[in-house]
Symmetry: C2
Subunit: 344 residues, 2 copies
DNA sequence: TCGATCACCGTAAACGTTTACGGTACTATG
DNA sequence: CATAGTACCGTAAACGTTTACGGTGATCGA
């Protein structure tokens, strides 16, 4: 005798009534509903998830897929932890649980996703590390699994997405640097085909063109999106005969390695080279302080969750006017790393 | 017509045989097994997890519980990602899936755990952020849920654990500093009741006592285990009239904030104060370079997973001589941050 | 008084698996 | 040839829920 049956026996009513009472169905006496809820709390009854989802075809779980090979994500634990926290505050309102689906670095992400979906793991998914062309989108769309992505892609199946405003950052940065007299400006991008790299570089080139300048392809640095990558960029930068006077960083973490590499060579940000990057908890402690873009990760998570739910029939009416696709603006925080101007 | 039934109809055999074939049961003709496997691959059949776990009472999922409030984790940026990767390489051998169970900062961890267990989410669990007294352990033991923990606790229900060698680090650090002539040595610890703080401080005091010195309680700094906490410690350190000549950092990330705070005041590590900390990907880029302890997080994850499986009846025989409880040694990497000696 | 409506509740089927049990055809053994 | 054993396979029950359906007693209107 187990689960709901035990509870029903204890109350001397049928399991159907117990289930209805717990699930807030209208056709049950308020008096008995109260008794059921009390008994459930007393006995510590929680519906078995397997039974429930087998019957309903729904799991009340939303999966956030991420790769555990850290070089790939380019974001750290704390980035996602903060985003998760925002996502969860929304999901909690609907009794949905967020779990992180961890794809090992040894497994193909597409295969992993297929497996997750086929097993009926989650009702909906959030994807990160979106590729410029991402086959996962088409797969999920075909299976009619609701999903949202953190990051745009050229693959478009109508899914909601949130993304950071890489174009805006490129535009603002270029304008700012050009106004300070810079002409040779370098940009960075991740080494792989992640979409944000394309957006950032393309917009940088466009912004430069608007000023009558062009982006020197020799000044587009690819690196792994972590501290080591930043250090490598410093080496490449220092090795250039005609060194650029400024550099744009698309990733949050490489600033740390870059600072270190430059520092070893006696090249000081804000005096010998201008740097504009993106802020993270760590970057606030760089010296000289970094000029860079910052955002509320928690708010980002909230918006992402709401965009996802707005596409799910069961929750759509809660979010009638959610923004399904949004470029998330970041604020520029002025620091010392681009403090100087060049002579005209 | 769905799932296994469709597959069976397609092959014109019974669902029982299909199931047996897929699950590697002996009483099925190898010829038909081959046909079944081929058809399954062709049709992309994957057993529905709800049906399977309802029947078997097992989910093939191992949950790694963590809190999404980032200050709580207290580890470096990609600490967990690396550990996960190690854990997964072990689990993959047994067709187990690792998911991160994310407890929102707004929910009580004990409640969350109760809910997860009652719902029958995972076959086993890994817990982090272990408290000095941790009621979760007793709860899981009573429910007979296998689990392992990343971190020791005074609560002992016989579960396997792995932990970092905080005592060893304290001992080595103190010995090293005393040999260099230091007498006033400060130590840090997390602000909350996480167990490692006690271990570290206690052992530091003991090591000092062995040298005829005592730990000044005024030199035990509590902080949030992140960059901001390190910055605060710098402020407190600088405000002391009789400033300590050395400081031990138990956390990986606070070094960054501490460096920044000291740097602002013109206090240079390795010249004006000795620092021994712990390494993370970020800390490799501090300047002057940090003297600190380092470990392979991936190996740690592997050991943790093996310890857990060694306690589960279904997998025990794969790991007959796994170390169920282990203090994980870290190697000291010499840097410049404690380079100087004091006059005798 | 009778039928209709209503509030509430019990019954049983269904979700997709796994597996105990029994059955069939074939082989081996005497 | 009879029997026992073996290899393989089909049948159906079970896991814990939810929910469509029908049933009961009470209330109400005519």
């Amino acid at each position: 005798m187990t689960g709901i049956r035990r509870l029903a026996q204890h109350l001397d009513i049928s399991i159907g009534t117990v289930s209805r009472a717990l699930n807030g169905r209208p056709d049950v006496n308020e008096e008995t509903r109260k008794r059921v809820l009390e008994a459930a709390a007393e006995l510590g009854y929680v519906p078995n998830q397997s039974g429930r989802s087998l019957r309903q075809g729904t799991t009340n779980i939303i999966g956030f897929m991420m790769q555990t090979g850290t070089e790939i994500t380019g974001q750290g634990d704390t980035f996602f932890m903060s985003v998760f926290d925002g996502v969860q505050t929304v999901f909690a309102r609907h009794h949905l649980d967020l779990v992180a689906l961890l794809c090992s670095s040894e497994e193909d992400p597409d295969d992993y996703l297929r497996r997750v979906v086929a097993r009926g793991f989650a009702d909906a998914l959030i994807l990160s590390s979106t590729q410029r062309h991402d086959p996962r989108f088409e797969f999920l769309a075909k299976r009619k699994i609701p999903f949202a992505t953190l990051g745009r892609s050229l693959t478009d199946v109508g899914q909601p997405w949130l993304d950071l405003d890489f174009e805006g950052m490129a535009q603002t940065s270029i304008d700012r640097l050009v106004a300070k007299g810079h002409r040779r400006i370098a940009v960075t991008r991740p080494h792989d085909d992640v979409n944000l790299g394309h957006l950032f570089v393309d917009q940088s080139a466009e912004a430069l063109a608007a000023h009558g300048l062009s982006l020197d392809l020799d000044l587009v640095f690819r690196s792994t999106p972590n501290e080591a990558g930043g250090y490598q960029i410093a080496q490449q930068l220092l090795a250039k005969k005609d060194r650029p006077t400024a550099i744009l960083l698309v990733n949050e973490t490489i600033a740390i390695g870059l600072y270190r590499g430059l520092n070893e060579a006696g090249v000081k940000p804000g005096r010998d080279i201008a740097i504009i990057g993106r802020h993270s908890p760590q970057s606030h402690f760089l010296s000289p302080s970094l000029t860079g873009f910052a955002l509320s990760r928690r708010d980002l998570g909230i918006a992402l969750a709401e965009a996802l739910l707005a596409t799910m029939p069961a929750f759509r009416h809660f979010y009638p006017d959610a923004e399904l696709r949004k470029v998330w603006r970041e604020d520029l925080i002025e620091g010392e790393s681009d403090a100087f101007s060049l002579p005209a």
